[in-house]
């Protein structure tokens, strides 16, 4: 049983808390949050030790692992503190506001032999995972274009700001939504190294953008588009979709469906000429505890398993830093426009 604590009990932190609380290999012993209301509730109703100061929690609870789910601007110091105390770290996305810090923390984690992971859960969705396998097998031949999209209904009218809608806190559609899309592009295709023609549009928010549109150039030379909007109420919840165009066909994938169009039959993979549709129902593995989606449990399983087997994770500080770098590139592109 891995002694674990959580810092930050917002939407993601509480969700992680339930998943860790039900995990057979985890002994979730403590939680920490700055909100008196939340901590009072946990003190009264839960079995966990409650803290409002994360350093006190880390110093006193003899933790092996910690999950950090606070606003992004706090990640750096918290991750650093935990790593220095020899604790494995799972940190929510986006990782850091300053990508230079990412390299430092990644090096520190490696030096200390500590497992490090960032919560990019799309990497654990069956359809995207299968898509990665198909790309490895070069199923649609040489790629010539991609489109990464995320849409959802978060900010639908002008309202009072919270940290998610304030500048410089890791809020805004770029940090909150586009980070997922960028990470998925990096996971499936390659690292984006240049951006062009970036548009950050404020639709309803005063201080941050509600939509991000840009062209990404990957280190392989492949180019494609990023289109992200969190003020689109035609989507019931956040929806991320990747479209890939290759000389041998086309693939469209979201979290529920993988649609493959091949110009020629692929006998080895049992894929016919034309369209083949694969659904998440057959591409997903059962988890021991389900909350909101298999991927949230799977990413925690992956983290815990990496601690048990002393292995590396698929969504490390290194890969999350690439996403942070791309976010910085997009912001620079805007200021130079």
């Amino acid at each position: 049983m891995i002694r674990t604590g959580i810092i930050g009990l917002g939407k993601m932190g509480i969700s992680h808390c339930a998943i860790l609380g039900a995990h057979p290999d985890v002994n979730l012993v403590s939680v920490c949050d700055s909100s008196a209301l939340v901590i009072t509730g946990f003190k009264k109703y839960s079995r966990f030790e409650c803290f409002s100061d994360y350093k006190k929690m880390i110093d006193s609870m003899n933790l092996e692992a910690v999950v950090i789910a606070t606003p992004t601007k706090f990640h750096g110091e918290m991750v650093m503190y935990a790593l220095n105390k020899n604790i494995h770290v799972f940190c929510e996305k986006p990782f850091l506001l300053n990508p230079n810090e990412g390299k430092l923390l990644s090096d520190l984690a490696k030096k200390q032999n500590l497992v490090n992971q960032v919560g990019y859960h799309n990497r654990f969705i069956g359809t995207f995972y299968e898509l990665k396998n198909l790309l490895r097998l070069n199923v649609i031949g040489e790629l010539y274009h991609f489109l990464g999209e995320s849409y959802g209904p978060v900010v639908l009218k002008e309202k009072n700001p919270t940290w998610r809608t304030e500048k410089g806190q890791g809020g805004g559609c770029l940090y909150d939504y586009a980070s997922h899309t960028i990470d998925l592009i990096n996971f499936l295709l390659a690292k984006p190294v240049e951006v062009a023609g970036t548009q950050l549009k404020s639709i309803f928010s005063k201080d941050v953008e509600d939509a991000v549109y840009s062209t990404l150039i990957l280190e392989t030379g492949l180019t494609g588009q990023l289109s992200v909007n969190w003020s689109d109420e035609t989507y019931r919840k956040m929806t991320t979709q990747i479209t890939l165009l290759g000389k041998g066909g086309k693939i469209i994938s979201d979290a529920t469906e993988l649609k493959i169009f091949l110009k020629q039959e692929n006998e080895n993979l049992g894929l016919t000429k034309g369209w083949t549709i694969k659904n998440i129902t057959t591409l997903t593995q059962n988890v021991n505890f389900y909350l909101r989606g298999e991927e949230y449990s799977s990413q925690i399983d992956h983290f815990i398993n990496a601690i048990k087997t002393k292995s590396t994770t698929t969504s490390s500080f290194d890969s999350a830093t690439i996403t942070d770098e791309v976010i910085t590139l997009l912001m620079k592109d805007i200021s130079s426009n």
Partner: protein
């Protein structure tokens, strides 16, 4: 509970196997009348119970159900809360902002007098206020079972905060003279947890299908629990979002005596009729086998 319960996912653009289909459904059921038309078809085919989320649009539909005589014996099983409404609100407004938005104004003002202190003393009272806020739209409609959505049931289950589940169970019984139901994706764990808190034979709605989709811990474990008949069980996601052919899917769930009801949603008369007939046929078969034993 009725053997067949009509579901609402198709009306509100929920489809677990295709985001594209879910958008198409959202377009198809843009008007409330188009939803009522399908409910009418289900009634004509002999399905008198509708299990639905406390979606904003349900308030208008309830208005018609209350006022039209043809729905006199109609039953609704409300499922609360409509999670995305709150999740999006929390992202946008924060926890306190969301509470402000969704608690009825005057009640919140009353609560606000005690302010934080009130809520810190009594989260369970807050839960009761939220239940009342969600139940408002069903006033005057027969709601014999009131469900807690899986995202809340499973969240509390994972957190180990089962006092709220017990409190919900009691409150629904006292205030609404109804049975509390729990929707879950974690049947074995939930049942053990409820029993340990003294809730015997609870009403549970959970994914049960031949391919084991969304059956946490695996199909075998579920089948063992179903056979033990420790709860009143409603099977949902029986088609695993369309991955199993209707006949095969319904034969599988109808074979279990431990499954009391089957929940399914459909948009066309042919699908509703077909599923209803298959359930009736397979259920009779199972009854016959067991009556001979």
């Amino acid at each position: 509970m009725e053997r067949i319960i009509f579901g609402d996912n198709q009306f509100f653009g929920v489809n677990h196997s295709s985001d594209e289909k879910s958008r198409a459904q959202a377009i198809k059921f843009k008007d409330n009348q188009s939803i009522l038309n399908v409910l009418d078809i289900a009634i004509e085919e002999g399905i008198y119970t509708f299990m639905c989320t406390t979606h904003d649009r349900m308030a208008d539909i309830c208005q018609t159900i209350r006022s039209d005589k043809k729905y006199e014996n109609y039953k609704i099983y409300p499922c609360m809360p409509y999670a995305h409404k709150y999740a999006n609100a929390v992202t946008e407004l924060g926890v306190m902002g969301s509470i402000k938005q969704y608690l009825p104004g005057n009640i919140f003002t009353t609560v606000a007098k005690g302010g934080l202190a009130f809520m810190q003393r009594d989260f369970i009272s807050l839960m009761k206020l939220l239940v009342d806020a969600e139940m408002k739209m069903f006033k005057g409609i027969d709601t014999p079972v009131i469900f807690l959505q899986n995202v809340v049931t499973d969240l509390l289950l994972g957190l180990g905060i089962t006092d709220f589940l017990v409190a919900f169970h009691q409150y629904v019984r006292e205030k609404y003279k109804a049975e509390a139901g729990f929707i879950t994706m974690n049947l074995p764990m939930l049942l053990n947890s409820l029993e340990s808190k003294g809730i015997e034979n609870p009403t549970i709605c959970t994914s049960i299908n031949k391919i084991g989709f969304r059956m946490s811990g695996g199909r075998q474990l579920y089948e063992k629990v179903i056979e033990e008949r420790r709860c009143k069980l409603i099977a949902m996601q029986v088609f695993a979002a369309g991955s199993i052919a209707p006949k095969e899917a319904l034969e599988y769930v109808c074979n279990f005596r431990g499954i009391d009801s089957i929940l399914f949603g459909a948009s066309s008369r042919s699908n509703i009729k077909n599923s209803k007939e298959l359930i009736d046929t397979f259920s009779r078969k199972t009854d016959n086998i067991y009556s001979k034993l």
